[in-house]
C-alpha cells in the first residue's frame, strides 16, 4: 500500500471534510463492537461525485476504504483495517418525496426520517433499536431488522431503488436491492435510497403470556403468526426473566396493530415495552455484555432454547421472526455456540450482520458467493477488506 496523498484527497472534499488528527483517528478506530482497528484518515464526503473520485484514487493507489454510517455495528463492520474511513453522515438530505416513497441520501438517520414522515402520518416501518442514530446506508448494508420484523421484514423489503458507487467506481441506480443489501460495504458505497413508506397504525395494543416450557411457547407463537394484525412477537427466556425479578418462565409480548390486546392505554404499552427494552442494561450489569443474534427455523427453536437453558445462556428476542438474542460472557467459547446454531439449521446472524467478528462461523458457500460478487464489483478489493469473507 502506498502513502496517502492527503493533498489530493483534500482537493476532492475540502479541508473541513478530512482529518488525520490522531485523536480523530482514535475515535474512528472502533464501533459498537468495541474492537479497535486503525484508521489512516477520516473523510466526510458530501456528494456521490466526490465518492467516485475517492474510489478512483483508492483504486489507483491500492488504498483501502471502510464505509461508515453511525458506527453502531455490533460485529466490527465499520472498524477500519489500515484504511480510510468514509463517513457518510454529512450526506443526509431528503432529495425527493411522493405520497408513498421518499428518497434520501445514505447518511440520513432513521429517526430523523421518521420525525419528518410523521408530520404526514407516515413512517418507515423497519425500526432497529439503534434507530435514533443508525443511518439508512448502514441499515441497507447490514439489512437491519427490528422488533416488528414479523410484519415488516427487513430494510431491503421497504427499499424501491438504490444508488451505489461500486468498488470499480461505477455509479449504478438499481431496483435489484437484494444484490447489494447485507453485503456490509464490501461491494459498494450506498449513496442514496428510495424507500417505501406506510401509514402509522391508528391503534396498538399489547397482550402478554407466560409459559413454563419452550415447547408451549413455540406452539403459541406458531398460532399467533397466522394473525396478520400482529406486528411484534417478542419473548424473554426464564434465566433472563429471573434477572429482571420476574417469574423464571418464558414471557411472551404480542403487539397488535388494533385494539385486540389486553393492554390498551399508552402507559400500559410503554410499561410493557420498557421492560423488554431495558433487558440489555440488566444483562450487561449481570456480566453478559456480548450479544449474538442467530436465526433459527421455527421447528428447531424449542430444542435450541432448551440447549441455551442447559448452558445458562440468557436469551430473549424476536421469536416470531426466529431471531434469538443470546447474551454471552466475555470469556465464553463461541465455537460450541455456533456449532449448536448450525446443528439447529440456524443462520449465524438474523440482523446484526457478519463483519469481522462472525466471519469464521459463516458457511463456505456464502463466502464463495460473496467472493464472486467481490470480483464483479470490487476486483481490486479496496472496499472493507477483511470483512465477511
Amino acid at each position: 500500500m502506498q502513502d496517502l496523498d492527503i493533498q489530493k484527497l483534500t482537493s476532492i472534499v475540502g479541508q473541513q471534510n478530512i482529518t488525520q488528527n490522531p485523536t480523530d483517528l482514535l475515535i474512528y478506530a472502533t464501533d459498537a463492537a468495541q474492537i479497535k482497528g486503525r484508521a489512516l484518515a477520516v473523510i466526510w464526503p458530501k456528494t456521490t461525485g466526490e465518492i467516485t473520485q475517492i474510489i478512483a484514487y483508492a483504486n489507483k493507489k491500492d488504498i483501502q476504504i471502510t464505509p461508515r454510517g453511525a458506527g453502531t455495528s455490533l460485529t466490527a463492520g465499520a472498524v477500519p483495517q489500515n484504511s480510510i474511513i468514509l463517513d457518510l453522515s454529512k450526506m443526509d438530505k431528503i432529495t425527493q418525496e411522493t405520497s408513498d416513497t421518499i428518497t434520501v441520501e445514505a447518511g440520513t438517520i432513521l429517526d430523523d426520517l421518521n420525525t419528518h414522515l410523521r408530520q404526514k402520518d407516515k413512517y418507515f416501518p423497519v425500526i432497529p433499536s439503534s434507530d435514533t442514530v443508525a443511518t439508512i446506508g448502514g441499515m441497507l448494508a447490514t439489512n437491519a431488522a427490528g422488533t416488528r420484523a414479523i410484519k415488516y421484514g427487513k430494510t431491503s423489503d421497504w427499499t424501491e431503488e438504490i444508488e451505489i458507487v461500486t468498488g470499480k467506481g461505477d455509479i449504478i441506480k438499481t431496483k435489484d436491492i437484494n444484490e447489494f443489501a447485507s453485503t456490509e460495504g464490501i461491494l459498494c458505497i450506498i449513496t442514496k435510497a428510495t424507500l417505501k413508506t406506510t401509514s402509522l397504525p391508528e391503534q396498538t395494543s399489547i397482550t402478554t403470556y407466560e409459559f413454563s416450557t419452550a415447547e408451549e411457547l413455540v406452539e403459541k407463537v406458531k398460532q399467533l403468526k397466522k394473525d396478520k394484525s400482529i406486528a411484534a412477537i417478542e419473548y424473554i427466556g426464564p434465566f433472563t426473566s429471573s434477572m429482571q425479578d420476574e417469574t423464571p418462565k418464558y414471557h411472551l409480548l404480542i403487539e397488535y396493530e388494533n385494539n385486540t390486546g389486553t393492554h390498551k392505554t399508552t402507559e400500559e404499552i410503554e410499561k410493557a415495552w420498557k421492560q423488554r427494552k431495558g433487558l440489555g442494561t440488566v444483562l450487561s450489569a449481570a456480566g453478559y455484555p456480548k450479544i449474538e443474534d442467530p436465526k433459527i427455523p421455527e421447528k428447531n427453536i424449542a430444542a435450541f432454547l432448551n440447549w441455551l437453558k442447559d448452558q445458562n445462556i440468557p436469551n430473549f428476542g424476536h421469536i416470531g421472526y426466529g431471531i434469538i438474542h443470546c447474551r454471552i460472557k466475555p470469556d465464553h467459547d463461541l465455537n460450541e455456540f455456533y456449532r449448536q446454531v448450525k446443528n439447529h439449521n440456524g443462520q449465524v446472524s438474523g440482523e446484526h450482520g457478519i463483519g469481522l467478528t462472525k466471519k469464521q462461523y459463516i458457511p463456505q458457500t456464502l463466502k464463495d458467493e460473496l467472493k464472486k460478487k467481490k470480483q464483479k464489483y470490487d476486483p481490486k478489493n479496496i472496499l472493507n477488506r477483511g470483512k465477511m469473507i
Binding site: D24, T30, W44, A70, D87, T132, V133
Partner: protein, 120 residues
C-alpha cells in the same frame, strides 16, 4: 439492603446512542465531536479540547441505555484538564475577568464584585 452500584464509563458499551441528541454532533455530523467521542477519550484517558466542546446539556445521559452519567464524567475530566493547566484561552480570559470585574466580559459595571465564584 445493598446499595445499587452507579454505572460508570467502565460499563460503556460504545453503543453510540448518546450522540443521538448531542447538539455538538447534530451541528457537525462528525463522530469526533459527539458524545461517544467524549466517552472514548475519557475511557482512554486522552483528555483534550474535545472534552471542552460540550454544552453539558445532559441529553447523552438521558439516551444512555447503561444509565451512565456522561456529563458528570465530562465535568470531572474538565477539572483534570484545568488542574494540568490545559484550558482554552477564552476560558482563562473569562475567569480573569470574573475575578477582576465580577463578570466574564471584562467591563466594570455597577454593583458589587461577588465574594465567591459560581459556575454551572
Amino acid at each position: 439492603m445493598t446499595e445499587e452500584k452507579k454505572p460508570t464509563l467502565k460499563d460503556c458499551t460504545l453503543c453510540g446512542l448518546c450522540k443521538s441528541n448531542c447538539p455538538v454532533f447534530r451541528a457537525t455530523k462528525q463522530e469526533t465531536k459527539g458524545a461517544r467521542a467524549r466517552a472514548i477519550l475519557i475511557k482512554e484517558d486522552m483528555l483534550n479540547e474535545i472534552i471542552l466542546q460540550c454544552t453539558l446539556c445532559a441529553s447523552c445521559k438521558i439516551e444512555c441505555p447503561e444509565e451512565i452519567d456522561l456529563p458528570e464524567e465530562i465535568r470531572k475530566a474538565r477539572q483534570k484538564l484545568i488542574e494540568s493547566g490545559k484550558e482554552t484561552q477564552a476560558n482563562k480570559i473569562m475567569i480573569d475577568n470574573i475575578r477582576k470585574y465580577g463578570n466574564p466580559f471584562g467591563k466594570q459595571v455597577a454593583g458589587k464584585i461577588p465574594k465567591e465564584l459560581y459556575c454551572c
